[in-house]
């Protein structure tokens, strides 16, 4: 297994924290939105867009690109911010999040931002669409194309996911890689109190998937998981990414109230100062 160098990890950590700063700023300017999930998934998105993905930000419609399906559309600040930092559009545009006429709708909408693969928001529908893309890609003999689907753990309550999970295994979709944001929170509280999901690895294994369980905020583990998943021969792969909600802002980590809340000016300044300090230590 190729391992990721310590230098590369440092670069990615700094990049991720810069993306986190953008997320916090854009949410503050928007005045509403979802903070915890976006910050928790920033390391995964950073790895995805800066290492894993075969894509051309300057040519978003490039036919041979890998596909990214964000199922839990409410964490879109991390999608938008990572895309901007990768060069899809100017970082300055992030300030328009949730504003009238913006391409950056409150939940992603293709009609406004055609460079995203799907519109999303209503939960539990992304995985099915990713399965459809993986099947279509196979029909076109596009086996080199990977379909990445990002799913929240809470949305696995939706039965439709398990319909899609069965189909993906039946069709042996080795070109499908699903990342579950396992942060144990949903709107009404802990996932295990609202509707216990239990051991997701065991569940997916029982559905005949490859499963990889990682710390979703550790680039070494993220890198190993993606590399393994990309080599699957005859099964879809799920990476259960255990993430810390609001990762990077100590005062907000694990606090449920940040699920659907945006920071005020003071909170934003405090958070950004904290992230800058972390980055200085990395250097």
């Amino acid at each position: 297994m190729e391992t990721i160098s310590d230098e590369k990890i440092k670069t990615l950590q700094i990049k991720a924290n810069n993306i986190r700063k953008s997320i916090i700023e854009m949410l503050y300017l928007a005045g509403s939105g979802h903070t915890a999930g976006a910050l928790g998934m920033t390391d995964i998105f950073t790895y995805l867009y800066f290492v894993a993905l075969k894509h051309k930000p300057e040519n978003p419609n490039w036919a041979n690109r890998d596909r990214v399906v964000l199922s839990n559309g409410h964490i879109c600040p991390v999608l938008y911010a990572t895309m901007a930092h990768s060069g899809y559009f100017k970082i300055d545009e992030l300030k328009t999040l949730r504003k009238f006429g913006s391409r950056l709708q409150g939940h992603p909408h293709r009609e406004y931002l055609s460079m995203i693969e799907t519109s999303s928001g209503p939960l539990g529908e992304g995985l099915s669409q990713a399965v459809g893309m993986a099947i279509a890609s196979r029909i076109d003999k596009g086996l080199d194309k990977k379909i990445y689907c990002l799913v929240g753990d809470g949305e696995l309550d939706e039965g439709q996911n398990w319909e899609a999970i069965m189909l993906a295994a039946k069709e042996k979709l080795n070109n499908l890689i699903v990342i579950v944001d396992r942060n144990f929170i949903q709107i009404d509280g802990s996932t295990e109190a609202v509707m216990p999901l239990g051991d997701l690895n065991l569940k997916f294994k029982a559905f005949n998937w490859n499963t990889i369980d990682i710390n979703g905020n550790d680039f070494k583990e993220i890198s190993e998981a993606f590399t393994t998943a990309q080599k699957s021969i005859d099964k879809p792969t799920v990476i259960v990414a255990n993430t810390v909600p609001s990762k990077g802002v100590l005062a907000w980590e694990w606090d449920y109230k940040w699920h659907g809340k945006a920071p005020n000016r003071e909170e934003m300044s405090m958070a950004i100062r904290g992230l800058e300090e972390i980055n200085n230590k990395i250097k």
């Binding site: 909408h109 799907t118 099915s128 459809g132 279509a136 076109d140 039965g159 319909e163 899609a164």
Partner: protein
């Protein structure tokens, strides 16, 4: 008299008129669409023979996906395939597709603006013995309310086949409604079909009509026979086949209303939100006209053969004649 310009089936008034189901017409149209375009794919939820996708699936096994009894997944998988350039046809019973999976249709197909073609078979009371749980009477309402959607309800198997081919060529989502049982062939291969175009199937030999009947789906046959019998009694009627419910042929509807000042709509569907409602939305805005709605009146269906059910729910030939005679008194 039949509108001869349309080259309708000359044997349509015979007792031994040929019968075939609209779902079979769909199956043939799908095969044709798939032959013409490599991007056409098919998905089904454990009803492949029943919704007549078997002809396609046998010919193109690599372009067919069986998803099991899972209609929400069915439609969203199709959306994903459309995102990769495919033209997916998804088939099931109308009660499940668009019934079970409506929000998925709204979000992953219409909101996402993907050209997924939804096929709802076994629609209407004509499912018969299966009973009310399977008699989909709300699908026109569910689909025509959605932005970007085309809604087509063909009157016979030949029109169903042409409509299937036609929707395979649009870049938008579409819903095609079909029925289970064999119904009379009203049109011919030569009859024009165009999405969004209504046609007058029956008209007085001379002079203006005093009633304009608008029908959709195979129930149009009852309206056609009723029109002929009324004509024989000296009551002049025009009958319109409104097979495309969205986009609506406003011009044709307004023109019929201007001539007759008296519209009767007939559909194997709830009156609320159905084809008649679409006609009413158009006429109340552009040419307010008295409308009589014939359809299912805010109740569910029940078991019975299609003829018994038509009679009970007042969609049979006699009920149409009676309604129009009372209307003109």
């Amino acid at each position: 008299m039949l509108n001869h310009n349309l080259k309708l089936n000359p044997k349509v008034f015979n007792d031994d008129v040929t019968k075939k189901s609209t779902r079979e017409g769909f199956g043939e149209g799908l095969l044709q669409a798939a032959i013409e375009n490599d991007n056409v794919v098919g998905l089904c939820a454990d009803l492949t023979d029943s919704v007549k996708m078997n002809i396609f699936a046998e010919k193109f096994p690599d372009r067919f996906v069986e998803v099991g009894i899972a209609e929400q997944n069915l439609i969203s998988v199709a959306s994903g395939m459309a995102a990769m350039g495919k033209i997916p046809f998804v088939g099931s019973y109308a009660i499940f597709n668009p019934g079970r999976n409506w929000e998925q249709i709204r979000t992953t197909v219409c909101y996402n603006d993907q050209p997924v073609k939804i096929f709802g078979s076994h629609a209407g009371l004509s499912v018969g013995p299966d009973g009310g749980s399977h008699q989909m009477l709300e699908d026109i309402a569910l689909t025509r309310v959605l932005p970007n959607m085309i809604v087509v309800s063909p009157c016979d198997a030949i029109e169903a086949s042409k409509a299937t081919l036609a929707i395979s060529k649009t870049k938008t989502p579409a819903y095609l409604r079909a029925a289970r049982n064999d119904t009379p062939i009203i049109t011919t291969k030569e009859t024009n079909f165009e999405i969004g175009k209504a046609e007058i199937f029956f008209k007085p030999e001379n002079g203006l009509a005093s009633v304009g009947i608008i029908a959709t789906g195979p129930i149009l046959y009852n309206a056609l026979i009723a029109a002929k019998k009324l004509d024989e009694k000296g009551i002049k009627v025009k009958l319109m086949n409104l097979s495309t419910i969205k986009p609506l042929d406003r011009e044709a509807i307004i023109s019929l209303a201007k001539e007759t000042k008296n519209i009767v709509t007939i559909e194997d569907h709830q009156i609320t939100g159905g084809m008649g409602s679409a006609v009413a939305e158009c006429l109340s805005e552009f040419y307010p006209t008295k409308i009589t709605f014939m359809g299912v009146k805010n109740i569910f269906g029940q078991s019975g053969n299609p003829k018994e059910l038509e009679k009970y729910y007042k969609l049979d030939i006699e009920s149409i004649i009676e309604t129009i005679e009372i209307l003109l008194k």
